[in-house]
C-alpha cells in the first residue's frame, strides 16, 4: 500500500490505453454514430420534402381536375348550343323546301288544269259542232259560226 514504480508503470499503461482506445474504439464508433445521425437527419428531411411534394402534386391534380371539369362543361354547352343551331337551321331549311315544293306542285297543278281546260274546251267545241251539225242537219260553216259556239261553250263551261 505504497507509491512505488508501479505508479510510473500505471501512468504508462493508462496513457497508452487512452491513445489506443481513442484510435480504435472511440474514433471509429463516434464517427460512425455521427454519420448515422447525419444520415437519419437527411432521411427525415427527404421524407418531409417528399411529403411536401406529394401534397403539392395532390393540390395540382385537384386543380387540374376542376379545370378539366370546367372545360368539359364548356364543351358540352357549346355542343348543345351548336346542335340547337343546326336543328333550327335544318327546320328552317326543311320548311322552305316544303313551301317550295308545295308552291311548285301548286303551279304544276294550275298549269295542268289550264292545259286540261284548253283540251276540254277544244274537245267540247268539236263535240258541239258535231252535235249542232246533227241537230240542225245542215252543214254549218265552222268559221262563220264559231263565234256563237264559243260563246255557248264558254257559257256552258263557265263553272267548270
Amino acid at each position: 500500500m505504497s507509491i512505488d514504480l508501479t505508479f510510473i508503470g500505471q501512468i504508462v499503461v493508462f496513457m497508452t490505453l487512452l491513445l489506443l482506445l481513442k484510435k480504435f474504439l472511440y474514433g471509429p464508433l463516434n464517427e460512425l454514430m455521427e454519420n448515422r445521425s447525419a444520415k437519419i437527419a437527411e432521411g427525415l428531411a427527404a421524407a418531409d420534402a417528399g411529403k411536401d411534394a406529394k401534397a403539392k402534386a395532390e393540390a395540382e391534380v385537384a386543380e387540374q381536375l376542376v379545370e378539366a371539369r370546367k372545360k368539359a362543361q364548356e364543351i358540352l354547352a357549346a355542343a348543345g348550343k351548336r346542335a340547337a343551331e343546326i336543328e333550327e337551321e335544318m327546320t328552317l331549311k326543311a320548311r322552305t323546301n316544303a313551301t317550295q315544293i308545295v308552291e311548285a306542285a301548286r303551279e304544276e297543278i294550275g298549269a295542268e288544269a289550264n292545259r286540261a281546260r284548253q283540251a276540254l274546251r277544244k274537245e267540247v267545241a268539236g263535240l258541239a259542232i258535231a252535235a249542232a251539225e246533227r241537230v240542225i242537219d245542215a252543214e254549218l260553216d265552222a268559221k262563220r259560226h264559231s263565234k256563237i259556239i264559243d260563246s255557248v261553250v264558254s257559257q256552258g263551261f263557265g263553272n267548270a
Binding site: 514504480l5 508501479t6 493508462f14 496513457m15 490505453l17 474504439l25 444520415k39
Partner: protein
C-alpha cells in the same frame, strides 16, 4: 475460529507480488501483479476494439456494436452536458476512464483466493487480482487527469490562473482598496493564498484517487472477511457466508460501476472547470 483466521489471514492476502530493485528504497519496487493484470485487461480491451472495428456497420447496429454504441453515447452525452467548448480528447478520456476502471473493478467478482492459488501454481507467492485495490493505479489515473487540468488551465487562461493562484481567496479585494495599509495587508496575504489554493488543487487528484482506492480496498477486505467466515464457521458459518458472499458480490459490482462512473464524471467536471471561460 473466524477471529484467528482473520488475524493471520487478511494481511497475508493483502501482499503484492512485487519485484524489488533496491531493498533499502521502498519506492524502487514494482507490483508485477498490478502491472500484469492492467496490461492484460488493456490488451484485451484493445483487441476487442480492433475486432469490433472490423465489423462496424453504419446500418442498424447489433450485439456488441449496439452495446458499445450505447456506452459511447452515454459518455458523449455526459461530456456534452458538462463542457462549454468542444475538445476532442475529453470524450475518449472519459470513455477510457469509465471502461477501464469498470473492467478492473469487475475483477473483484472472481473468488478471493482464486488468483492467488493460480499464481501459486507458477511459484508466485502473492497475487492481488484487482489493480484498483493497489493505490498506484487510482493515483496514476488521477495524476494524469490532474496534469491535464493544469495543462489546460495554463494553456487556455494562464494569466487568470496565476492570478487566482496568488490572489484568491483573500487578496483580490484588499489590493483594490485605496488605503495603503490595507493594500500591504493584501500583499502580505499572498503566500497564504498560494498555500490555500495549492491545497485546493491538490485535493482534487487526492480525493479522486482515494475515493476509488478506498472503496475497492474496503470491498476486498470484506470479501476476505466473508471468505474466512466461510472457511472457519462450520455449517452455519458456511451457509451464512455463502449468502453474504453472494449479496456482497452483487453490491460490490454495483459499487464498482458507481465508482467508475464517479471517477469519469469527476474527470469531466475538473477538466470542464479548466475549460470554463474567464468571467470578468
Amino acid at each position: 475460529m473466524a477471529q484467528e483466521g482473520q488475524s493471520e489471514g487478511i494481511p497475508e492476502h493483502l501482499q503484492y507480488w512485487s519485484y524489488k530493485f533496491d531493498d533499502s528504497n521502498p519506492f524502487m519496487q514494482i507490483h508485477l501483479d498490478t502491472m500484469f493484470t492492467t496490461i492484460l485487461v488493456a490488451t484485451l480491451l484493445v483487441l476487442f476494439s480492433k475486432w469490433l472495428g472490423g465489423r462496424l456497420t453504419d446500418g442498424a447496429p447489433t450485439g456488441a456494436q449496439n452495446f458499445m454504441e450505447s456506452v459511447v453515447g452515454f459518455v458523449d452525452d455526459t461530456v456534452r452536458d458538462n463542457f462549454p467548448v468542444h475538445n476532442p480528447i475529453i470524450a475518449p478520456l472519459a470513455l477510457t476512464v469509465f471502461v477501464f476502471i469498470f473492467l478492473l473493478n469487475c475483477l473483484d467478482i472472481l473468488p478471493a483466493f482464486l488468483s492467488g492459488e493460480i499464481a501459486g501454481l507458477f511459484g508466485i507467492e502473492h497475487y492481488r487480482q484487482v489493480p484498483t485495490n493497489d493505490l498506484n493505479t487510482p493515483v496514476a489515473m488521477a495524476i494524469c487527469v490532474f496534469l491535464m487540468v493544469l495543462y489546460y488551465e495554463f494553456k487556455l487562461k494562464p494569466m487568470h490562473f496565476c492570478k487566482e493562484l496568488l490572489l484568491q481567496p483573500f487578496a483580490s479585494l484588499l489590493l483594490e482598496a485605496k488605503n495603503p495599509v490595507v493594500k500591504m495587508l493584501g500583499v502580505a496575504l499572498i503566500p497564504l493564498n498560494l498555500i490555500l489554493k495549492l491545497v485546493e488543487e491538490l485535493a482534487k487528484p487526492l480525493s479522486l484517487s482515494f475515493r476509488l482506492f478506498g472503496n475497492m480496498f474496503a470491498g476486498e477486505v470484506i470479501f476476505l472477511l466473508i471468505s474466512f467466515l466461510l472457511l472457519g464457521g462450520g455449517v452455519v458459518g458456511m451457509t451464512a457466508g455463502f449468502f453474504v458472499g453472494i449479496g456482497w458480490s452483487i453490491f460490490h459490482m454495483f459499487i464498482g460501476l458507481l465508482q467508475a462512473f464517479i471517477f469519469m464524471i469527476l474527470t469531466v467536471v475538473y477538466l470542464s472547470i479548466a475549460h470554463q471561460p474567464v468571467e470578468h
